[in-house]
Amino acid sequence: MSDHVVSRRRLLRTGLGTIAASTVAGCKVLDGLSAPDHRLRHFMERANDLTMAMQRGVLDRDALAQEFAPVDIRQPQRPNGVTDPQDADYVAHRNARFANYRLEVGGLVHRPLSLSLADLRQMPTRRQITRHDCVEGWSCIAEWAGVPLWHVLDRAMVHTSARYVLFHCFDTIERSLSGAIRYYETIDLVDARHPQTLLAWGMNGAPLPVPNGAPLRVRVERQLGYKMAKYVRAIELVDDFSGIGRGRGGYWEDRGYEWYAGI
């Protein structure tokens, strides 16, 4: 056996040992990727840009989410996240059965609006039986009734410089050292103008229940549940969300979840 072969074998064994050792240690080393500003994490997050580009560019960007039949509503809609906000302004509205509720629409619009629930109900209504997909992995089918968001946007006359719809919510989801953090979300105008994107005030033939976001929640049927903000207080048209929260476009996005949740 020549030295050449021996050294090759040794190299191979050392190499295999290194791979095995790094595999075992790998899980711990990779825990660093949980840090939001990890460079490798940033690189890997770019894959989601590719996902969005493919879904928007290759697949039909106007496609409607699958709608189901009444017989498919087999259970109450499972609530998630905050299910009973304790914020003083919200509790006051709830105690008044949302009679004094106003949805404020502002930001980059020519005509800011202040809409009561009655105003919203008088606008064109769309009912759709769709499947709600949670990022955790579960799905639940329910019927939603509400005004398509594009009607509200058209009435407010969105400025051409607007790029995103920002939803401000009543519910405090986290209390941090810097104060209470209320839920917020953003979607772009492609999804905002999609015919199935609703400001929903009804669910399964009844007014929207408190655990599911009363009096008003968002439905963005081609994305995951965390995009569909509940307890909506105000809508703001913005051209940039980097100055809001931690700058990633939503409460969960600020905690590492993808801004585009079509996957």
């Binding site: 899980c27 990779l30 949980s34 890997m44 879904q55 189901f68 087999r74 997909d133 579960w138 079509g262």
Partner: protein
């Protein structure tokens, strides 16, 4: 043990495309499996149909815990988690920290890594498919012809007896198992993954419908992952039994030491 016959010459076994894609897949599947278990842990229940049965029962698999004991339920049949599944390290967790990336509970990071390697995996499969088609590898080495089907029974007997044939070309069992992985498990893994995406659902509703609904697709994705893990275990056993250094040299350098009487069999 691995050499039943006198060693023959070194033969060219794997093209560069095969070797490079093999190792990218190995790396991708390692991350996909362990981040997949992280994602599964966020809701450790599998269902059959469009939705998850909370008000009715369509549960296939549930990994949970009763107090500090893990419980695995498969079609209502219950078993203990053996300190690994359902409850481990003093916490309720479907799969234990050593089986997930990151090791702690972190769905967001698990998803980031999962989707990154999902793209790596898909692109690698496309590169392989084009390369294997152009080089003839796909047809020459993976397709079973009459000759291979006829030799299958003998090949199974040989494997059971630990008699391995070392040739440049794959034997019937290798063709069947690699073919199953490349033409069935890999594509199905991608399709069941896509069927879970709400964006893809809207554009291609037939995909999840054809798989029995989004939750069925999620269940199948898990079952297919278990299938790939099973393939990996058998693959490792075969490599060890057939001669790990020779097999490793072949998949790293492309050169394989064939049996003397097999050398001419190309």
């Amino acid at each position: 043990m691995s050499r039943n016959t006198p060693p023959g010459p070194l033969v060219r076994r794997h093209t560069r495309v095969t070797r490079v894609t093999h190792w990218i897949w190995a790396l991708s599947l390692f991350f996909l499996l362990l981040t997949g278990l992280q994602i599964f842990n966020a809701h450790p229940v599998l269902y059959w149909g469009d939705q998850s049965g909370f008000g009715f029962d369509n549960t296939v698999l549930r990994i949970g815990a009763v107090d500090d004991r893990g419980v695995v339920e498969l079609f209502g049949w219950r078993a203990g988690g053996m300190g690994v599944l359902g409850y481990s390290g003093g916490a309720v967790r479907a799969f234990p920290p050593w089986a997930t990336i990151p090791s702690g509970t972190d769905l967001a990071t698990g998803r980031v890594i999962h989707f990154f390697f999902a793209w790596v995996f898909v692109v690698t499969l496309l590169v392989w498919a084009v390369g294997a088609l152009l080089s003839g590898h796909l047809v020459r080495d993976l397709v079973m012809d009459r000759h291979h089907w006829r030799g299958l029974a003998r090949d199974v007997r040989d494997h059971v007896r630990g008699r391995f044939r070392h040739a440049a070309r794959y034997g019937p069992l290798q063709r069947l198992s690699y073919g199953l992985v490349l033409f069935v498990l890999f594509p199905m893994m991608i399709l069941t993954g896509l069927a879970m995406s709400p964006g893809v659902n809207a554009a291609l509703p037939w995909l999840s419908e054809g798989l029995g609904g989004r939750q069925s697709a999620r269940t199948l994705h898990f079952v297919l992952a278990a299938g790939l893990l099973g393939f990996f275990v058998v693959h490792m056993v075969m490599v060890v039994l057939a001669g790990p250094l020779n097999e490793m040299r072949a998949i790293v350098t492309g050169w394989y030491r064939a049996d003397a009487q097999e050398a001419g069999d190309v």
